[in-house]
Amino acid sequence: MKELRLMKGNEAVAEGAIRAGADGYFGYPITPQSEVMEYLMAEQPEKRTGMVVLQAESEVAAINMVYGAASTGKKVMTSSSSPGMSLMQEGISYLAGAELPCLLLNVARGGPGLGTIQPSQADYFQSVKGGGHGDYNLIVLAPSSVQEMFDFAFLGFDLAFKYRNPVLMLSDGLIGQMMEKVELCEQLPRTTHFDRSWTLTGKPDGQERNIVTSLDLDASMQEIHNLHLQEKYRQCKEAEVRYELFDTEDADYLFVAYGSSARICQKAIKIGRSEGIKIGLLRPITLWPFPAKPLAELASRMKGILSVEQSAGQMVEDVRLSVGSGVHIEHYGRMGGMIPTPEQVLENLKKLLIAK
């Protein structure tokens, strides 16, 4: 029988991590994601699967605990919210540079600075354009439901180990705090990734030692490493684009929106269609790699595209890069933790795309 539960997004991702066979979680409390660690501590996964949960002294320590554990081939994760993610960026750059797999979760809130604790999508640039120093990319998944918060724990770890790269789930306070029905799958075994080609498990007799580092003082070698990373990112771009389409078959106008905004847009589509405005939605599931090709193909049939984000307009830049000129593209968003209503989204589609 299906195991159904009513869960918060933050709880679902924690349960997902346990069931995906995670070895460890290291985190630091911050609203609106504290339920992740609270749930894990209450569940005592060390008794269920042997998974380790540790409350670190800071986000900086947490990400470096992840870095240490990941260097030994363990399946580990951390979670935070916007200001805490900023603190983690150095460590994330090291993880990407050293090619270590891990799962990161940002339950984003309004900024800049201490900002608010309400939902926001203003960390898009930080998430998909690097965030930390150096040329690197994270694989970025954007869950849009509590079910996806659960499911992407599995997908995230899979992709992280497939590409030996950090995977970031970019969620927000709405998806993290809301409760929905979640269908849980069965517990996966917790198995350590004993690949001696890169993991640190202690140098076996008669074998070479392993070193995990992102440092190479020889610039020509560092460039070769960068070329290797770029090739990896290219392969990832080819294979891992994920997105979802709603009502696009006959649409004249297209919303592009991810996460909580995509949910709001679906309602706006319903209202719009009841008024005779044919709107569709492309929901990027991977924000990096961005679904540029499918978007470009759809765009040629559209009278206009509205990028809907809870930000000043960040993803809209990728929408424009994907589509190029020739299609009318606008952005609508609220900021600082304000969530647009479906009616506001529809009103702005009319104002920005139809009235012009």
């Binding site: 009513l6 609203t31 604790i117 409760m179 029905k181 949910r263 709001i264 706006a268 209503t341 009616e343």
Partner: protein
């Protein structure tokens, strides 16, 4: 069927848990649900609200600005959300502590004196389930046995003795709810 509800009141009135029990009940009868609370410092001693959507279909936006039903349990909530009820929709309120009553004429207005009733029961904890009983009388969208199941899921094992009290509260709520217009 889709029912879009806002429940709002003081933190501590059991607003969020009432929403949660309602959501659980709907899951028990294979419906889709979403539950989105106000969260953070505003909840601590201030007002709390939760948007609950029950539907036979996949739920789109968990955030709304108009509702089929508004359950408003203090003055601030009434002031804030009375205008958000869809024309023809339902407003359920408790008159306790109100200085301004609901005024709209294009919606159905019901009153449940849950604060008084819970005081009579000598259990303020029963307050939210009295309201729940009132709501279910107006809109029996979830079956009562599923509400009991939802209660069992929501009440921590150490409070299991409260189950009967809550069942009684639901019955009282169903009894005392009155239509005003």
């Amino acid at each position: 069927m889709t029912e879009e509800i806002i429940i709002a009141g003081f933190g501590g009135q059991g607003v969020l848990s009432m929403g949660k029990i309602l959501a659980y009940s709907a899951i028990m009868q294979n419906q889709e649900v979403s539950w989105f609370p106000s969260y953070g410092p505003e909840m601590r001693g201030g007002t709390a609200n939760v948007t609950v959507i029950l539907s036979d279909e996949r739920i789109s936006s968990p955030i709304l600005h108009v509702y089929d039903t508004a359950i408003l349990l203090n003055q601030q909530s009434l002031d804030k959300f009375e205008d958000s009820v869809k024309p023809g929709g339902v407003l359920l309120y408790d008159k306790n502590g109100l200085i301004r009553m609901p005024e709209r004429t294009d919606i159905h207005i019901y009153r449940v004196d849950a604060a008084d009733a819970s005081a009579k029961m000598e259990s303020t904890k029963a307050f939210n389930m009295i309201v729940m009983g009132g709501y279910l009388k107006i809109k029996p969208i979830v079956q009562i046995e599923n509400v009991y199941k939802g209660l069992e899921k929501s009440i921590p094992a150490r409070y299991s003795h409260l189950l009967e009290l809550n069942k009684k509260a639901i019955a009282i709520g169903q009894e005392i709810v009155t239509k005003e217009r």
